[in-house]
């Protein structure tokens, strides 16, 4: 990690660490709990005093449980964790600022979020998005029912970036789409959103593009992957294979790439079975119920 990158993220981590004594409020959601798990709403504070929200699920039975952190996806909605996960992991599904249930001060736009606040490194909204994720992990591991020595992350490459900033992550499942990995190179090959957001910014603010590239480089997980100690699987589409291989090659821990077959049931099963094996929880049938 470069000196600039080190300093940038060290400052973010310090801001997050300063919140360690701030209030966390947890309340069960009986309508979402079921015979396999209990679902909770969690309210807590992010940097800048921003109010954040997460779903926490705990399996029925005695813990401690393997903690699975679901990195927020690129969408307005964060859902209740799927039963196939909530039945066997402690799952934390946080909303970063701007997503529904954490949008009282800032509403993310789609398209828009991916370039909001560029070109400056201090104003780019993803500084806060990453900080919200780091804060969420602190809140998650503060729960007595979780075994913090087995922390796992699943999600897109925001999860990889977070793992580069948290050496205690033991297992990392990165799934498509890759949003932060080599954005200038990959955006030039597509007009599909969300990557097209980079092209829109470049076309509209061409005089700011070079500064934006410097900022985006801070958020590229490949640049920080030497700090990822986790056992990692990167599951990607064929179009993402080069970026995924670059990321894999830079990761310090054991890492592999799985190229999706394009058949969702198979790809999902491969990913979830890998995660179970990596974290030491039982491999169980997927969400498609037997007929």
């Amino acid at each position: 990690m470069s000196a600039d990158r080190n300093a940038y993220w060290a400052a973010v981590k310090d801001e997050v660490a300063a919140l360690s004594d701030s209030n966390v409020s947890i309340e069960e959601l009986p309508e979402r709990s079921n015979e396999t798990c209990v679902v909770y709403a969690v309210w807590y504070e992010g940097i800048g005093g921003y109010p954040l929200f997460a779903y926490l699920t705990l399996p029925r039975g005695d813990g401690p449980f393997v903690p699975l952190f679901q990195a927020p996806g690129y969408a307005s909605v964060v859902g209740v964790p799927a039963r196939e996960r909530s039945a066997k992991y402690a799952v934390f599904a946080p909303c970063h600022r701007g997503q529904r249930l954490a949008d009282s001060g800032y509403q993310a736009a789609y398209p828009g979020l991916l370039t909001d606040g560029l070109p400056g490194a201090s104003s780019y909204i993803w500084r806060s998005v990453v900080a919200d994720s780091l804060r969420a992990i602190d809140v998650f591991l503060g729960q007595p029912e979780v075994d913090g020595s087995k922390l796992a992350i699943a999600g897109n490459d925001l999860g990889a970036l977070v793992a580069s900033l948290r050496p205690d992550v033991k297992s990392l499942l990165v799934v498509t789409p890759l949003l932060l990995t080599d954005p200038p190179g990959r955006a030039s090959d597509t007009f599909a959103y969300p990557m097209q957001e980079y092209n829109d910014f470049k076309r509209t603010y061409s005089d700011q593009w070079n500064e934006a590239l410097e900022t985006l480089s801070l958020f590229d997980p490949t640049a920080g992957a030497a700090d990822i100690q986790a056992n990692t699987m990167i599951a990607c589409t064929g179009g993402e294979i080069c970026a995924a291989n670059d990321l894999m090659g830079a990761i310090a821990g054991e890492a592999g790439v799985y190229k999706n077959e394009g058949r969702g049931f198979i790809d999902h099963t491969v990913q979830e079975d890998w995660l179970a094996e990596a974290t030491g929880v039982p491999i169980t049938p997927g969400p498609f119920l037997p007929r």
């Binding site: 309508e31 079921n34 859902g79 209740v80 398209p111 599909a192 959103y193 790809d267 498609f288």
Partner: protein, 317 residues
Amino acid sequence: MTTSDPSLFTSSVVKPADFDQYWAETLTATDAVALNPRLSLDEMRSTDEIEVFEALYDSYEGIEIAGWYARPRNFEGKLPGYLFVPGYVSEPKLPNDLALRGYAAFSVAPRGKLRSNRVFNPGYPGLLAHNIAEREEYGYRGFYMDAVRAFDFLAGLDEVDETRIGVQGGSQGGALTLLVASLRSDQVACGSAGAPYLCSMMDSAEMTHSYPYEEINDYLRIHPDDELAVRETLDLHDIHNFVDRIKCPMIVSVGLQDDVVPPETGFAVFDQIGSTDKRFYSYENCGHDAGTGDGHVAIVDAFMDSHLNPSAIGGAG
């Protein structure tokens, strides 16, 4: 009835006696609201090849609905129209890809989605069970009208050839495709419905623990005495009961291991579609993707293009 062969599934949906009257009254109430269409150019999302607009119109109960409209920057004559209807939790896509293919393309955000949620905002989870035991007040009543009005919005644009408008979407978008093709059966030229949601809803809730259908199970776990009222509401809004009105060419796809939308319900709704020009695609080892990563996207594109005949302009960036 659930069987290991999804094609043998029998839906438990019943068409209520007042189904046609209820929806006729709902359409009349919607027609009483002026459409009030508005377009505003979004320079940042436009390119040398296409223009992108933020779109607004008014819908049932006077609620303002947003969307994205995109068209080729340069064109002659009328353009074919392409209505894209969104999934349950996803925000509507910006249809620049469709404009590059030569379409006047509209991607709608029905009530509750971002930019259309100032008045109605049940959230996710939330929408599927919003007023689910009160049939007249059920959230999807107005949501359905927003989709129908999206078609009216597109058909009303000067540059759109109203004889060449197709509808497409997956999951909830699949359901809305079937809905619009049913309620605008004399106008929709073709449709493509992937993994259609909101079909045989009570049966679906029994066959899965995945959201959104899990919202029904969550509700009934807390309110078991409401089951009959819930079934009555859902029968009145079940897509299964609309599709015998469809006249246009229609394709439907399912993933045979779909945990989100049980594939059985796709087979069942396909059987009910009134059009004789229809085709069904089922994908082994696919879930809710319903073949989109396994070649079905090209099938949809070819099907829509064959019926709507756009003039592609291409280009990227």
